[in-house]
């Protein structure tokens, strides 16, 4: 382990010697960093990594502080979801084609999973992909797609066989967002803005080499994506008192006139809950340092949603008269998301999405109960029924 850490440090030194961050154009710097294996050290050599243990990434990040960086907010889906899925299920060609521009930010990714009729029950989705020679023709409607209006590529799950049970008839694709028939419409949220989109797919033709994994294996591929998503949402390393807690504690410290004993007890309760959740996340990351995310990540995501909602709700109440106000209801697109930005009203409303996006808290509890605790599944009506015969 010590050898590896030294090796990584040595690599960074050598890279910096060849590429002066102050003198190299940012995109060139990022491309060179990828080629030096310093993008994500746990990826294989040649694909932006060194085949090193995942936890050594922090060594790289520390050493490259202050150098040109990509925009993590804009690239979140690419980095957190598409990349690990492509790495796990893509062909060599796909890995070489997609991973580099994904990481450098030259190509932004979005996600085409949820549909109006398939939310918690994602596997029931209805978007069809029909084979036509070397191509697939895709028709359907997707929703909750952030960044669709500036994304170059999407990860897409579509139904390729309606005659088998729902989990078996799905296939996973990379969707070309510039292909004809892709229409993106902003979807306004309760915050007033449109952070997400609806995406209508009409006769979209995708070559078969954009398929990820085998035909009919889309559910398994999608599961890998979703596990990574939940870890990405809930598992980000946090500092003590950070995140949503930072906002409310700053208000508390700077505004003594707002303090009451009632609020004090509730704030102390939530502060403790935030701290034990942070510790649980840190412990989970220690466990995962070498491995892939498992269902346990669902727990931290669940706790994170609960906390964000409780803290932002308490903050609105605490601010009293200011809590009655809102910054701006204008309907506009948001280019990036900051759960902890803007005013308390925005944070309160936006946090409501935390228990829905990336798997509702109800679905996560099911996952924990069945996959972590081994509790028996409920009787199911949809297990062995062809998708086309399911009641909806």
């Amino acid at each position: 382990m010590t050898v590896d850490e030294t090796a990584v440090e040595e690599r960074v030194r050598a890279f910096l010697a060849r590429h002066d961050p102050a003198a190299t154009p940012p995109l060139d710097f990022l491309r060179a960093r990828f080629d030096a294996g310093l993008a994500w050290v746990h990826f294989p050599e040649g694909l932006g990594g060194l085949g090193a243990p995942r936890e050594l990434q922090s060594v790289v990040e520390r050493a490259l502080t202050g150098t040109p960086q990509h925009d993590v907010g804009r690239l979140a889906i690419g980095l957190g979801m598409a990349a690990p899925t492509i790495l796990a299920f893509g062909t060599e060609e796909q890995k070489r084609r997609f991973l580099r521009p994904l990481w450098t930010g030259e190509e932004v990714w979005c996600q085409l999973f949820s549909e109006p009729g398939a939310g918690s029950d994602l596997a029931t989705l209805a978007t069809r992909a029909v084979r036509d020679g070397d191509e697939w023709v895709v028709d359907g409607q997707k929703v909750w797609t952030s960044g669709a209006h500036f994304a170059r590529w999407a990860i897409l799950v579509a139904r390729t066989d309606p005659d088998v049970p729902k989990h078996q008839g799905l296939t996973y694709f990379v969707c070309d967002m510039r292909a004809p028939g892709v229409e993106v419409r902003p979807l306004r949220q309760i915050t007033g803005e449109a952070e997400f989109n609806e995406v209508f797919l009409t006769g979209v033709r995708l070559p078969d080499d954009l398929r990820l994994g085998a035909v009919g294996d889309g559910w398994r591929v999608a599961q890998a994506t979703l596990m990574n998503e939940r870890v990405a949402i809930g598992g980000a390393p946090g500092r003590r008192g950070g995140g949503m807690l930072a906002e409310i504690t700053e208000t508390w410290r700077n505004r003594p006139e707002l303090r009451t004993h009632d609020l004090h007890r509730r704030l102390l309760d939530l502060w403790v809950e935030a701290e034990v959740t942070r510790l649980a996340g840190a412990r989970l990351r220690e466990q995962l340092a070498a491995g892939a995310p498992g269902p346990e990540g669902s727990g931290v995501k669940l706790a994170f949603a609960r906390l964000n909602q409780a803290l932002s709700g308490l903050e609105v109440e605490m601010r009293r008269e200011e809590g009655l106000l809102y910054d701006d209801w204008t309907f506009r697109r948001s280019e990036s998301v900051d759960f902890f930005g803007r005013g308390p009203g925005y944070r309160y409303l936006r946090a409501k999405g935390n228990s829905i996006e990336g798997g509702t808290s109800e679905i996560l509890r099911n996952i924990i109960a069945e996959r972590v605790l081994g509790l028996p599944a409920e009787p199911r009506a949809d297990k062995n029924v062809p998708w086309k015969d399911l009641p909806r």
């Binding site: 306004r188 009632d262 009293r320 106000l325 409501k352 109800e362």
Partner: protein, 375 residues
């Protein structure tokens, strides 16, 4: 005392509900929320005049209905159920009750106009004012020789008001809204936005010699707000039930999943308790001594009933709206579905007229549960 609804109350409810179903469906409220936030003047006219809601709390000899807080509470349940953008609470309850408690000819004359819905009024105090914070009166506005100067923030209903009842220098004044500057502020609650009201040497007529009527109006407002919160929570539960019976996932209506069923059962119980508490407050307020009298016997009972209702119903309404959103999934996060109007109203109502924490604090005295000794 009864916590049930009388026949007369049920008739009033039916009339209000019919009107709202006809003139104020959720889609219309949503459409108006940005174009004319918080104001549906035609609807208010119909409610105030045709149904006579404006004069409910006004004595019959002044042209009102001489009804009680119990009837006003039923109207508020229906208005909450519709998040109706009308100034009933601010004008027909709070401003009206302040004038009723003022007594005196000036107040009586204004009540005559309010009773028939000719005039709409608002109390010029922040909606976030707690009824318990008034031992030191609000010093925002000064009165000198009949001229008022100062600024009041977060006033609800001011944009719809012709008349402002203004606490200034320890007394109450009536001000023509046209003489003041009323600026609506971007508000969390799209159906009852708040405004900043500025007086700059504005003429005011004295209507009350002290702030006792203001305190009474805030208590009446807080107590009846519980009924608005109840109606709001009931809409949220009913809408959620309809959704979970309809929406299928995993080849079943999601309302057949036991975890959801148990949460909805708990929410139902919370609302059953809210109904009993809101009715308790309305009934207690209906049995208070009439206008003009100070804190005579029974006042503690009323204060307790109001504090209990507010401590419970504010939280219950927010909880109902939050569960409604969560159980609608992604649909609940869209602007298109009206439930966000309820969430925003519920959250603003939680702050309005004392937070649940303020009301629990009040119970430390009212229920004889003294605070810890200072360390």
């Amino acid at each position: 005392m009864t916590l049930l609804y009388s026949e007369v109350e049920e008739e009033l409810r039916a009339a209000v509900r019919d009107l709202l179903a006809d003139r104020c469906p959720p889609a219309a409220v949503l459409a108006g929320a940005e174009s004319a936030p918080g104001r549906d003047a035609e609807l208010w006219k119909a409610l105030a005049r045709d149904i006579g809601a404006a004069g409910l709390l006004i004595p019959e000899d002044l042209g009102g209905a001489g009804a009680s807080a119990r009837e006003a509470a039923v109207v508020l349940e229906e208005l909450g159920r519709a998040v109706a953008p009308v100034p009933f609470l601010t004008s027909a309850v709070m401003a009206t009750w302040a004038l009723v408690r003022c007594g005196g000819d000036a107040a009586r004359e204004l009540l005559g106009e309010l009773a028939v819905g000719e005039t709409t009024a608002a109390l010029a105090v922040s909606l976030a004012t707690s009824p318990y914070a008034l031992s030191t009166p609000p010093a925002a506005v000064r009165a000198e020789a009949g001229r008022l100067t100062g600024r009041v923030t977060a006033v609800a209903g001011a944009d719809a008001a012709d008349l402002l009842i203004v606490p200034a220098s320890g007394a109450l004044y009536a001000v023509d809204a046209a003489d003041a500057v009323v600026e609506v502020v971007t508000s969390l609650d799209l159906t009852r936005p708040v405004a900043m009201v500025t007086f700059d040497g504005t003429p005011g007529r004295p209507v009350g010699a002290d702030l006792a009527p203001l305190r009474a109006a805030l208590a009446m407002g807080a107590g009846l707000l519980a009924s608005e919160q109840l109606g709001l929570a009931e809409w949220c539960l009913a809408t959620t039930l309809a959704h979970v019976k309809e929406r299928h996932q995993f080849a079943r209506p999601i309302g057949s999943f036991q975890a959801l069923k148990h949460r909805l059962a708990d929410l139902w119980m919370e609302i059953v308790q809210a109904r009993a508490a809101a009715r308790g407050a309305a009934d207690a307020l209906a049995r208070t001594p009439g206008a003009g009298a100070a804190d005579e016997g029974g006042a503690g009972e009323v204060a307790l009933a109001v504090a209990v209702a507010q401590a419970w119903c504010g939280t219950a309404a927010v909880h109902a709206a939050e569960e409604c959103l969560q159980l609608h999934g992604g649909i609940g996060m869209t602007w298109e579905h009206p439930l966000h109007l309820y969430l925003k109203r519920a959250k603003a109502d939680e702050i309005a007229l004392g937070t649940p924490g303020d009301h629990r604090d009040a119970l430390a005295d009212l229920a004889d549960l003294p605070a810890p000794l200072p360390a």
